[in-house]
């Protein structure tokens, strides 16, 4: 009897583990084919221009080297994301048509400007 129970338990655990793996692997990471990196320093993006191929999902890791938070924002990329001072964040870019997509730091809009060029 206990043997059956424990076998069931094992089954359940296996199932859970499997479920977990599926959830994890179908999660965010899967989507990105291209990866880029950006740095925020003195309220400016470095580099201020990034290139990406068209129709490709990508992720941009933005590291904020300033002490203060910044909000990465772009209406055309449909992204708004706070990056804490000294922190970093991953911006996921959906597959895009060719064109120029501007982004900026909402808290320092004058200096923190950049553009994503999709070609």
């Amino acid at each position: 009897m206990t043997g059956v129970m424990s076998r069931r338990m094992i089954g359940a655990k296996l199932g859970l583990a499997l479920f977990g793996t599926v959830v994890m692997s179908s999660g965010p990471v899967l989507a990105a084919d291209e990866a880029r990196e950006l740095v925020i320093r003195n309220h400016r993006f470095e580099p201020a221009e990034i290139k990406l191929p068209a129709n490709t999902a990508a992720q941009i890791t933005v590291r904020n080297l300033d002490k203060t938070a910044e909000e990465f924002e772009s209406k055309s990329l449909k992204v708004e994301k706070v990056i804490p001072g000294g922190g970093q964040a991953v911006i996921r870019i959906r597959p895009l048509a060719k064109g120029r997509y501007e982004f900026f730091g909402e808290y320092n809009e004058k200096t923190a400007r950049g553009v994503l060029v999709v070609e």
Partner: protein
């Protein structure tokens, strides 16, 4: 200073509009002021917490914590606004008919007013956390510029509150039963806008990647980043480049709230004399029935 004013204003005005509508929609319900103040204070405290733990929240879910958090908060607000409208469809009749006789309806409505308090709290938390991060950032930079920036921040906050107040006063100027019709629609559209925004965040997180193509682009006609664009974004969910799933979320939310309202308060067949505006969840139909 102007930059700070604008940034703070942008965030505060969204919460201000939501509060303005909630205040108008809960007209005549006792305890609503207490609830709204509670929502603002609670939301403000929560905003500080969210700002303080922005990094930790962001690291959750493989770096998508922020988006999922935003989507969850918006989703909760959608459910509560929907619930409010259905409740109003049931009790709106007494409220529209005689404001003072509302006591009875509201005896059962204590939880209802709590719902609105939470909606206010969630709005203040969402918008407030960004204000806190921004103001903390400039005050950390020190010096004179910080003081003028903070002044700008305070002015921006005042301007945002003022817009909310204007909307509230404007809604109050509408005759009572029509006002409840108006607020019911406003709340429905606002909830639909939040639902589509929540979907936007889920798309941004990479968790959902369905129908991501923008359906159209009206940013040349009315940019979402402009003041009017932002106001419309909050009030009716205006998005200048909506994707398919966002549009679907918007439509489903409107349809669901409207249908539920009709179910709890089905319209009567023949309106006596008042003309046929009455397709709303909570209203002219309801008033008519009492008069008949």
């Amino acid at each position: 200073m102007l930059a700070a004013l604008i940034i703070v204003f942008r965030e505060v005005v969204e919460a201000g509009l939501i509060i303005g509508i909630v205040l108008a929609a809960s007209q005549g319900v006792p305890g609503r002021i207490r609830m709204v103040v509670g929502g603002v204070v609670g939301g403000g405290l929560a905003a500080c917490l969210v700002a303080a733990f922005a990094g930790q929240i962001g690291d959750l879910f493989e770096g998508s914590g922020q988006e999922i958090f935003q989507a969850a908060v918006l989703g909760a607000a959608v459910l509560m606004l929907g619930w409010h409208n259905v409740w109003m469809a049931k009790h709106g009749r007494e409220m529209a008919n005689d404001m003072r006789a509302v006591g009875r309806a509201v005896a059962a409505g204590e939880s209802e007013i709590t719902t609105l308090g939470i909606v206010v709290g969630l709005a203040v938390m969402r918008e407030g956390s960004e204000v806190v991060l921004f103001l903390y950032g400039i005050s950390a930079q020190g010096a004179d510029s910080a003081r003028s920036m903070l002044t700008g921040g305070v002015l921006g906050m005042g301007a945002g509150v003022l817009i909310g107040l204007l909307l509230y006063r404007g809604l109050l100027a509408i005759p009572v039963h029509k006002m409840f019709t108006a607020t019911a629609w406003l709340i429905t559209l606002m909830a639909a806008g939040m639902a589509s925004q929540a979907v936007g965040f889920l798309q941004q997180s990479g968790l959902v990647t369905l129908w991501q193509e923008p359906l159209w682009d009206t940013s040349d006609f009315l940019a979402q980043a402009s003041l009017f664009g932002r106001v419309l974004h909050t009030l009716v969910g205006y998005t200048d480049q909506p994707d398919g799933l966002q549009l679907l979320a918007w439509i489903v939310t409107v349809a669901a709230i409207w249908t539920l309202g009709r179910i709890v308060n089905p319209p009567r067949k023949r309106p006596a004399k008042q003309g046929g505006v009455g397709t709303l969840p909570n209203t002219p139909g309801a008033v008519r029935r009492v008069q008949a």
